[in-house]
């Protein structure tokens, strides 16, 4: 019930947002929201903490940007190329990372992601510290000019809703149920005959791919693939977004992404104090607010019902 209300609110807000908010900012929020939802699928439902999701987000941004700029791909094909790269990368990283469990999993993903960061910094065609700049937005289907902010906005909204829909369907499928079973008790799921590693890898690949979709879309919006998108701090930010909104809730990451991204935006004039504040929120969430905003809301509602 609550999810339906939230879904309606989200769609209405999404459709009307460009009329009362700065479209580019809302598009940025949508990218982070999709990124956080993709991350949440892995941590919230499969119980796997990836500390390297920036590799998919940032890596896809670079590949999409390169395809759009150097190969002259049309916008959708460019985004798909970036997303496809994230899928491949997710398969390789996932295959390696699921060989270790728990805390090691987090360290392995973090270290693997650092390879992508260094590649983005050092390869001759990535623009080093400047990133990949002046990526053309091009024309959607050959006739809708994406330099029009409104056209761009509704494309981004459509991409977000498709990505969100995929995640929603995944969570509420038998596959999603098995993931939650693995999260709750891995050895029991194994003894029930589920190929645990296979399920974990699938979850990892879906999550990485959608994180890549978000990153590739971001590159198109800002016409810029930035090195910071591939930095470990971005991996940390997406964890924070998910945590603030509510781990393992459908809408939590969306709320968390909006909260954290708006906060960073509002505080951007305070320089590195932003980092301190984000750190304090991190500590606060871990210590006393582990359910997150949506999780806490759900908890209160269900308690009131008795």
């Amino acid at each position: 019930m609550m999810n339906r209300i939230l879904l309606v609110i989200m769609i209405v807000l999404g459709l009307t947002a460009p009329f009362f908010a700065y479209p580019v900012f809302v598009m940025d929020l949508l990218c982070f929201a999709l990124f956080a939802c993709a991350f949440n699928l892995l941590l919230g439902y499969a119980g796997l903490l990836s500390f390297g999701h920036a590799a998919f987000f940032g890596g896809a941004a670079y590949v999409a940007g390169y395809a759009l700029k150097e190969w002259g791909f049309p916008p959708l094909l460019g985004i798909l190329t970036g997303t496809g790269f994230a899928l491949l990368l997710g398969t390789v990283f996932g295959y390696l990372a699921i060989r270790r469990q728990g805390i090691y999993f987090a360290m392995v993903t973090l270290a693997l992601a650092q390879i992508i960061y260094f590649l983005a910094l050092q390869l001759p065609f990535t623009g080093g510290e400047n990133g990949l700049q002046r990526i053309p937005r091009g024309e959607l289907f050959g006739f809708i000019d994406l330099n029009n902010e409104l056209a761009m906005y509704y494309l981004v909204l459509a991409i977000f809703l498709i990505g969100f829909g995929i995640i929603y369907r995944t969570i509420h499928s038998p596959f999603g149920e098995v993931l939650q079973a693995i999260r709750e008790n891995e050895s029991r799921a194994l003894s029930l005959g589920y190929d645990v590693d296979h399920f974990k890898l699938m979850a990892f690949v879906i999550s990485a791919t959608l994180a890549g979709l978000a990153g590739a879309t971001k590159a198109l919006i800002f016409q810029f693939a930035a090195l910071t998108n591939a930095h470990w701090q971005t991996s940390g930010e997406v964890i924070l977004m998910t945590l603030v909104g509510g781990l393992g809730t459908v809408f939590g990451p969306v709320v968390g992404a909006i909260t954290v991204a708006s906060l960073s935006h509002e505080l951007s004039s305070f320089g590195s104090w932003v980092q301190v504040i984000l750190g304090v929120i991190f500590v606060f969430c871990v210590m006393v607010f582990r359910r997150g905003i949506i999780g806490e809301l759900q908890h209160r509602l269900s308690r009131r019902k008795g």
Partner: protein, 298 residues
């Protein structure tokens, strides 16, 4: 390529290796008893270096105390302060997370990292401040027979090795160390024998943090002191820990040294790969020996 260049890079690599060893040793000691990975380990290393820097040149300017803590003093004071911070963090925060999934410990220490890093980035240049307090007695170079090597770096290598092996000896060969190992093996039973396990946990975390602080002081005269110096290092150390496995103290030390050496040699043979070679080695280890070279999976 001359033998001398290779040997020089190998020694410089070993110099990096002792820092890897000290940090991964601290991580392993903490992991053994608390089952958490201290993400803030890099920030504590940075903190150690900054305490040395502030103690040497900023006490008067910042706090109006006309006192200068030299390098030798910092070598004592910085680990103490960082260790105390560790104890404070363990007592006030980590303790409350002990019964939860261990990823919360990682997330908490990540938040602490952001706070520490952000605080120092407010007051210090991100590109680094040189530490002026390298003692006179350690300046210059020594003749090693086959090459000249900076005295200070040689000192840093020897000093770190002594600290690492002393820690190993303490844990593996003393009575107190055996109690610690009992706590790692079975905390409940150890507690039932009347040993104060919570106190052991707190002191262990403090000790691990102090090791990171000590490494920071040792690094200050070599690298410039910067708010980000720990962040980049700690991720490499994570890879070192995945390669070595955290089951053994000696394993953590040896893999740190070996990987520093390999990184140094990569700088000679194929410089562009120097920053990623350890990560690629981690991939190989994951493929062929997933539990790590010295690992016992927990």
């Amino acid at each position: 390529m001359s033998m001398q260049v290779i040997l020089a890079q190998a020694l410089l690599g070993l110099n990096v290796g002792v820092f890897y060893a000290m940090l991964s040793l601290g991580l392993a000691v903490i992991f053994g008893l608390l089952n958490i990975i201290n993400f803030a380990h890099g920030a504590m290393y940075m903190l150690g270096a900054f305490i040395a820097l502030i103690g040497y040149s900023l006490l008067e300017q910042w706090f109006g105390i006309s006192l200068q803590v030299g390098f030798w003093g910092s070598l004592l004071v910085a680990p103490l302060l960082v260790g105390l911070l560790g104890i404070l963090i363990e007592r006030t925060m980590l303790k409350r997370l002990a019964d939860l999934d261990h990823i919360y410990g990682l997330l908490l220490t990540f938040g602490i990292t952001l706070i520490l890093q952000g605080l120092f980035a407010n007051y210090f240049n991100v590109s680094g401040t040189p530490y002026p307090g390298q003692p006179e007695s350690l300046s210059g170079v020594v003749n090693l027979g086959f090459m000249y090597f900076p005295t200070y770096r040689l000192f840093a290598i020897v000093f770190s090795l002594v600290v690492c092996f002393a820690t190993w000896y303490f844990i593996e060969h003393t009575k107190l160390g055996s109690r610690l190992r009992a706590g790692v093996e079975n905390p409940n039973l150890t507690q039932a024998f009347g040993l104060n396990v919570p106190l052991m946990v707190t002191l262990t975390f403090g000790f691990g943090a102090a090791l990171a602080g000590l490494a920071g002081v040792l690094a200050a005269p070599i690298y410039s002191v910067s708010p980000l110096m720990g962040a980049d290092l700690i991720i490499v150390v994570f890879a070192v820990v995945v390669i070595g496995g955290m089951g053994s103290i000696m394993g953590a030390i040896l893999s740190g040294l070996a990987l520093g050496l390999i990184e140094g040699l990569t700088k000679v043979f194929y410089p562009p790969a120097a920053s990623t070679v350890i990560f690629f080695l981690m991939v190989l280890v994951l493929l062929f020996r997933p539990a790590g070279l010295f690992g016992k999976e927990k």
